[in-house]
Symmetry: C2
Subunit: 559 residues, 2 copies
């Protein structure tokens, strides 16, 4: 069985250079043309593919954990006249539909992660466009807090996707234009249909960038601004050294990927995977100090990074898997003990980053286009943080065995954060979904009192009570258990994967919408559609013909 | 040139019976199998197609205008054991992709119109399910305020689309389940994958229906409930007789459809249509009493109904048209005078219905998948209500001719309603978009003071000032005008229609999301995608094979 290597480290980056100098971090984009993620397309003009974005995502994680003193992140390029040309078009041309969709999803998550870094970890992000930023290159820029553009008579920001490729700036670009930067919709309309984009003062006047500097003063002006941001009120997350993130290790044994706390078993024949998360084994840190000492070996950090890797394996390496059975194993009391520590010190930088990491990983699960069924049985530890897995699942089955009762358990981490994060009140969710609600809030949208009732119970909850409280979907007894769960999984795996993806995306996010859910729900769905249309990806489609002399041929019927 | 007949009248309904008895209106579904919208599929089991839904939409309009005394609307069927089997599957099988998408959009609009009737016109809507409501049949039911289900051992509510057809309950169903009825997402997940649905007490317990009655008591119980609703506090909209809605008349002359106040010119060759709305000619009602007297001949009612018909012609009869040039002709002062009357009497039932009608028509334009360019030139009257057309456009071009200045003008109808609609405060928009903002609010999301500045000017505004205020996109002078507008239209018409549909859907609705925008933006985009996927509509897809003995064959790769 083939898995993919998603682990990156700055010392082995091919396409980026990360440097940190006191409070200022720099990410220099310097894409190696001849080192694409897979053979077949050179990465010209700082265009990117999954490999480039994996390094960017890794760099953001390292800033969080290894460089807590960083207060400003500058993203720029080493190339003259070019910041980033966006996603590589020949890569898109030659990719399958599922790969394209999952690639866009990952780049969206990375950009949202950058925004989370700014919002929740107080790292101000500055895009220093020393040259043209087009397509995904500009989408990366608008994921930053502020954008500086060089005014050299040629460098521009642009979204050429619609006019050149007949697809969308689908990595959050359209939504961020009108919702984040609040560009007037008619101006956004014009911008998105002018392939060459806007330069200098026109870009500034349209609100597409925040600063424009002449070529000769560009570096000095950006530097000046960075110093202003460093000197601005507000403390660094920490003056401490960070913790080291060691690579997430795994080994493949037959059809199973083994991590320390996570196992992913693939059954291609039935299209069912089993994803098991184990709880802590020995003693886990009881204080932030102990967490520092244990570093990335601490269960809370390690299981989340392993789960994240497993989800990416599912998305990219095993696209035939339709149903993922979520299981846990271990001692619920130990999970709840970790949660107590996480809940008690929300303002400690490392505790906070740990919570944010778990939150991001759970959101990665929320937006993964597979059916998740939680299987809650003897030996499981669906408690606190790990109960979020059951809440994230499309359904949960809990064994109701009177002889050997199974339990689930809630912790403060299933509720409000009790802390003081930058954008969130004391009752903001510890692990918010993309739309800002906790999974319990979303579940009990009809009557928040049901959530309060559940959250008030801190003891282990047996199957009948869990069913009564609305915490699980089904609680079959031991006679029905195996058959009922097996049949449900088989039935699910037999349904059309397309319909399920659309159905799940529509049912999972009841309640408010946010920029993030607009990106994943609205923009991504449209891009998903457009990627399957002949006008883009047919033999005579614009994406297919890009770089060739032939003109695309469109079916002009509008839908 | 072929146009379609969207005009309906209760005396000629094929599929519904509308009766109004004092405060109680009844809509009986009784679909004629042998009278489909187009030949080729019998409408068995009260299944519906566009023809059936056009009558439903007409009936709702008539309740608004012709029966202001109605306070409760009961929707039920004349068939034993069947309420409605949803959209006809053989119709969907044999329809083009653009038709399917536009059919779903129209049924969505009709259901949202039913919800608007309940919310803003205080007509309580009751779905009396005297038999099974499946698919779109249940979607119709959940668009009502409350649902009564007969408990006869066989009648169920169900969403069989995903398991049986590999498509979605895409007429708002999924969104309404979790967002309107707030069904728990895991229960919704189960419900949507069980083709036979839920019956009786199970449907009640899951929150899918509000009342369950035995077969013998069903009619009496519904009747009893209706009497309760009639007796509930709150007044009828009016005890007056309503006004009659005469059919919207039009004639085709060459490539042009002529209405009284609207003209739609089709140019299939360039894929450009010109949609012109003319302002009032003579004296228009200055009081609600005069409006009653003039009835549906009043400009405000007539132009809106004509515009609505023209938009449906565009969607269903002319799917190759990519760009619609919006024009107006007439006397701005006369439009502003009508607006003054509409703004002054927001609580008069007929004024209110007129405003709601215009609002619905503008929203129909907002969600129409064509590019709209407003062309503001000499002789135009983009003022007040008609200025909303320019605001609804993706772009606007205003001629800046110093010798013969062109003007636009704002009125109170571009701002808050100043009235007391049920759900809206005094500053709620007179013509809200689907997400609840006015078009000016959406336009000036970045800085509401810019909206206030514009709204404070009630005099005619020339091109330079309009550009300065941000009210128009471009203001070319008379030398550049013709070329600039012509080139912009040609360029737009040359782009991929799919990419434009996705781009426009993403740029038009900046700001908050509502159930309505979730339906049009998220759910519809997913359904749009699924309708193009081989798993649904390929030769071996589930929708294609429905009713045949072969089993569908799926590509199980998940995206």
């Amino acid at each position: 069985m083939e898995t993919l290597d998603f682990q990156r480290h700055p010392s082995r980056y091919l396409h980026w250079k990360l440097s940190v100098d006191g409070p200022v971090a720099r990410l220099l984009m310097d894409v190696q043309e001849e080192r694409p993620w897979r053979a077949g397309y050179p990465l010209k003009l700082n265009s990117y593919d999954l490999g480039v974005d994996l390094e960017l995502a890794d760099a953001i994680e390292r800033l969080r954990f290894e460089h807590p003193q960083a207060r400003v992140l500058v993203i720029t390029s080493t190339r003259d006249k070019i910041f980033c040309a966006g996603a590589n078009i020949y890569m898109l041309q030659s990719s399958s539909h599922p790969f394209k969709v999952n690639f866009c999803k990952f780049t969206n998550e990375t950009r949202i992660g950058l925004e989370e870094l700014a919002r929740d970890s107080a790292v101000r992000t500055v895009a220093a466009l020393n040259g043209t930023a087009s397509g995904g290159g500009y989408e990366l820029a608008i994921a930053c807090d502020e954008i500086h553009l060089i005014d050299d008579g040629s460098s521009a920001v642009s979204f050429p996707e619609t006019p050149l490729l007949a697809v969308l700036p689908g990595t959050g670009g359209l939504t961020r234009l009108v919702d984040k930067r609040k560009i007037r919709r008619d101006l956004a309309d014009v911008f998105c249909t002018v392939a060459e984009g806007f330069r200098g003062s026109k870009a500034l006047k349209s609100g597409l960038v925040d600063f424009v500097h002449s070529r000769s003063r560009f570096e000095a002006k950006v530097q000046e601004r960075v110093q202003q941001l460093v000197a601005a009120p507000g403390a660094a997350r920490s003056r401490e050294a960070g913790i080291r993130l060691e690579p997430v290790a795994s080994r493949v044994d037959g059809e199973t990927i083994h991590y320390e706390f996570v196992t992913l078993r693939i059954d291609e024949k039935t299209r069912v995977a089993t994803l098991t998360v184990r709880g802590p084994r020995g003693a886990e840190p009881a204080t932030p100090q102990e967490l520092r000492a244990k570093g990335c070996g601490a269960w809370a950090i390690r299981f989340a990074r392993e789960l994240d890797d497993a989800l990416l394996q599912l998305r990219f390496a095993f696209d035939s898997i339709g149903v993922v059975v979520l299981k846990t194993e271990g001692d619920a009391a130990k999970v709840v003990a970790v949660d107590a520590m996480l809940a008690k010190h929300p303002d400690d930088w490392l505790v906070k980053e740990t919570r944010l990491l778990i939150g991001r990983t759970l959101r990665r699960l929320d937006v993964t286009g597979r059916s998740f069924f939680a299987r809650i049985e003897a030996g499981s530890c669906f408690a606190g943080t790990l109960f979020e897995l059951a809440l994230a699942a499309d359904r949960s089955y809990m064994l109701n065995d009177l002889d050997r009762p199974v339990h689930v358990q809630l912790s403060p981490m299933n509720g409000g954060n009790g802390g003081a994060y930058s954008q969130a009140g004391a009752n903001a969710p510890a692990y918010p979904m993309s739309h800002g609600l906790s999974r319990l809030q979303c579940r009990f949208l009809a009557d928040p009192r049901e959530m309060d009732a559940a959250l008030s119970i801190r003891e282990p909850i047996d199957a009948e009570q869990a069913l009564e409280l609305g915490l699980v979907t089904f609680a079959p007894d031991e006679i029905d258990w195996e058959d009922e769960v097996r049949v449900a999984i088989e039935e699910r795996a037999s349904l059309s994967p397309d319909a399920l993806t659309g159905m799940e995306a529509s049912l999972r996010f009841a309640g408010p919408e946010s920029m993030e859910t607009k990106i994943f729900g609205r923009l991504s769905a449209w891009q998903n559609w457009i990627f399957t249309r002949p006008n883009a990806t047919g033999d005579e489609g614009a994406l297919s013909l890009y770089g060739r002399p032939e003109r695309p041929v469109f079916d002009y019927r509008r839908t």
